[in-house]
């Protein structure tokens, strides 16, 4: 393995966003922030994917994060995006900790399908709860940071920068985690679980830990998306949302902790371009673009960066 420059790269990207941010148009800042939010979810999925687990229901935690962020505003009148993200992560992690006892027993397609069922149950509950606005959802309080409301000219930039900072912190922690023995267990679990057990490690506990971390990341992503978009609704838990996250993760590849963010950004751009160029057939453009990416970049977008090293 070459000298890993992941953290310096991340730091540099952060610096670029902070410095170049004021020059970017607001719509671009918005796209970047949404990409970061979705990238956080994809990062969690990537952790699971390294162990061979695909969750078809990660939108469950994305939605929990978003609704926690929204509820903090709606019921406690707190619009601070840092509080919202921390609360979102905490609630998502707590739910994942409880559900993890069940899910850590599952593998393969069944892990995916059970998570799908759980996210759809949350969707059903939210649709039924008129106090939370049913399918229409409700608006999230305008974002503030440490109690200060940025002016409208700057709010996109501040949200993007804070989101970027939080994402950087989370990514750095994940990066550290992957270097621990527990983190390095994932590929081994994917290859052969029984051998891992023979080594004297509990696979179930390792998966449970990963599951909780992935949920916390999704919770942060959901909260960030909520405060950025300013509105939340039950569709955030719908299976198509989960599908989008899986797509981003596969698109990105598992090569690096940075990959999911790149994947989310590219996905957002393809989506927007397809909407622009062919409003009547954007699904076809999106499908074709994604098909081509899978066929020609089988190891994900990240392979663009590593291919030369391998050669």
């Amino acid at each position: 393995m070459n000298r890993d420059r992941t953290l310096p790269i991340l730091g540099a990207v952060m610096l670029v966003v902070v410095l170049a941010g004021p020059l970017l148009p607001q719509w671009a800042l918005f796209l970047v922030t949404i990409a970061i939010a979705k990238g956080l979810v994809a990062l969690g999925l990537m952790l699971l994917l390294r162990a061979g687990l695909v969750s078809f229901g990660q939108a469950l935690y994305y939605c929990i994060g978003a609704y926690t962020a929204g509820s903090v505003g709606r019921f406690f009148n707190v619009g601070d995006m840092l509080v919202q993200m921390i609360a979102g992560a905490a609630v998502a992690a707590l739910v994942a900790f409880i559900l993890g006892f069940l899910l850590a027993r599952y593998r393969g397609i069944f892990f995916g399908l059970l998570s799908l069922a759980l996210s759809m149950i949350l969707y059903g509950l939210l649709v039924k709860s008129e106090a939370l606005g049913s399918t229409d959802g409700f608006n999230v309080l305008p974002s503030t940071v440490l109690g200060i409301r940025p002016s409208e000219a700057w709010v996109r930039y501040v949200v993007a920068a804070v989101g970027c900072g939080v994402a950087l912190l989370a990514t750095a922690l994940v990066y550290r985690y992957l270097r621990t023995p527990l983190g390095q267990l994932a590929p081994a679990i994917k290859d052969n679980e029984i051998r891992v057990e023979y080594m004297g490690t509990s696979v179930r506990n390792a998966i449970h830990a990963m599951y909780v971390i992935a949920a916390a990341l999704s919770g942060i992503g959901g909260a960030l998306a909520a405060t950025t978009v300013g509105h939340i609704d039950p569709d955030m838990a719908y299976w198509t949302t989960s599908g989008e996250f899986i797509f981003i993760t596969i698109l990105a590849g598992t090569g690096s902790v940075v990959a999911p963010f790149l994947g989310a950004a590219i996905f957002g751009i393809i989506h927007t371009v397809a909407f622009d160029l062919s409003p009547n057939t954007w699904q076809m453009s999106l499908g074709t673009a994604l098909l081509l990416l899978i066929v020609f970049l089988p190891d994900g977008l990240w392979s663009l960066f590593t291919r030369r090293k391998a050669a």
Binding site: P25, Q26, W27, F30, L31, I34, V127, K128, E130, G133, S134, T135, D136, G137, F138, N139, P142, E152, V155, A225, V229, G230, H231, I232, D233, D235, M236, T240, T241, I266, G268, I269, H271, T272, V273, F275, D276, L277, P279, N280, W282, Q283, L304, F305, R307, R308
Partner: protein
């Protein structure tokens, strides 16, 4: 790395190209962003009829071929240019695309949104970006009941009006009614429609018995079990706010089982299907059009002009979403020109147009639209209901009753639910 650079160049080129293609026309046109469903199940009943209306109306306005008071070309002489965007996808997608419309395409006005969820999500963003935005179809009353906006308008009436109107009509047409039942889609529109209808009926007929309220999933498609339950319930009337594909499926499955022959159906959004499914709607079914649209539209010059032009081009009569879109464009045009006149004939700013649209009263193909509620941002209109009667294979409406705007809409500043609970107090 080289591959990556190629990709980045391609992406950048595509992004740069998109708005440029739409640009380049003479004398500072007015750019309108039109957002409505072009894919998914809501495309056929709402999205496409609305887009068609937008196309025909903007073209005619640009040619100066509209009757008075809309005879000026375009918006105050400036030609109209449209950017059309699909409303499908999550609210996150829609907020993203809204920002793109405003900040990348630099549209002057946004007219659109069928989904109430999207309207609720877009409203604060419109306010943040200070962009005049007119919701043409979505029904939820929450937008202006819960919030107060400067740049956000809705020229269509709310769902409260549909439910109250339905209840009043049923009460008038069936004074001896004893029981009601509901069949509504399990999402906000269906829940609110039923909630307001049920509450209104309880005000009008205090002893009314609610037999059952069925709430199938949106786009469920299979309604055998619901129909059985409703047949078993034997209610005098069945209220349904179903629309589009779901309503069509319901009617197809209910017809052979005689559901709406045994209980009178009230289809509050039924007008979109009457041209297609005349054979499946038993005579005496109550049909709503979410306002004085389609068959309930007044016989005035604007309506004759609009429905003729629409029919000539698309070979079908316009349904209520088309009326709502036409009305939304005409309303903004009226405000634009009023603001331009006040501005000494110079192109008005968004703030000036918004100020002109507040509390404005204008004429549309559906009659008078009064921006009376929501501090002048929410329209009220009269509404009408009637009963179906098939004559020679065509569905006609008989026994039409019209209810003045003030009778079916709450006074400004009062929430619909509170107004109904107070016994429709003025």
């Amino acid at each position: 790395m080289r591959n990556f650079r190629k990709l980045a160049t391609a992406v950048a080129a595509a992004l740069a190209l998109a708005p440029a293609a739409a640009l380049a026309q003479d004398a500072a046109p007015v750019k309108i962003g039109i957002v409505t469903f072009l894919s998914g199940p809501a495309a056929s009943p709402f999205g496409v009829p609305a887009r068609n209306a937008a196309e025909v109306v903007t073209e005619l306005l640009n040619a100066g071929k509209a009757p008075a008071p809309y005879a000026t070309k375009g918006f105050g002489g400036a030609p109209i240019q449209t950017v059309i965007i699909d409303e499908a996808g999550s609210t996150t997608t829609q907020v993203t695309e809204y920002r793109n419309l405003v900040q990348r395409h630099n549209v002057d006005v946004v007219i659109g949104y069928v989904s109430s969820g999207n309207c609720l999500a877009i409203a604060p963003v419109a306010e943040e970006l200070k962009k005049l935005t007119n919701f043409f179809d979505c029904g939820t009353a929450r937008i202006f009941e819960d919030g107060s906006y400067k740049y956000v308008f809705r020229t269509s009436p709310t769902q409260t009006m549909d439910s109250v109107g339905a209840a009043l009509y049923v009460h008038d047409a069936k004074p001896k009614l004893k029981s009601i039942a509901g069949l509504n889609q399990n999402y906000a529109w269906g829940q609110d429609s039923w909630g307001d209808f049920e509450a209104s009926m309880k005000q009008l007929v205090p002893k009314v018995e609610v037999k059952t309220s069925q709430m199938p999933k949106l786009f469920a498609g299979q309604y055998n079990a619901e129909i059985s339950t409703l047949l078993g319930a034997k209610a005098d009337v069945i209220h349904s706010s179903f629309y589009d594909g779901d309503l069509e499926a319901l009617l197809l499955q209910a017809a052979p089982r005689g559901l709406f022959k045994k209980s009178t159906g009230i289809l509050s959004a039924g007008e979109t299907v009457i041209h297609k499914l005349a054979a499946q709607i038993p005579d005496g079914t109550v049909i709503g059009a979410r306002g004085p649209f389609g068959p309930y539209a007044p016989n005035n010059e604007l309506n004759r002009w609009f429905s003729k032009e629409f029919r000539d081009r698309y070979q079908v009569p316009p349904t209520y979403p088309s009326y709502q879109m036409a009305q939304a464009i005409l309303g903004v045009k009226a405000a634009w020109e009023k603001a331009q006149a006040a501005n000494g004939g110079k192109r008005p700013s968004n703030e000036q147009v918004a100020a002109a649209l507040e509390h404005l009263s204008f004429e549309g193909p559906g009659g008078t639209v009064k921006m009376a509620n929501g501090k002048g941002h929410q329209s009220i209109m009269e509404t009408a209901y009637g009963m179906s009667k098939v004559v020679g294979g065509k569905l006609t409406l008989t026994n039409i009753k019209r209810y003045p705007a003030e009778k079916v809409n709450p006074p400004d500043g009062v929430k619909g639910a509170d107004w109904i609970a107070s016994g429709f107090k003025k």
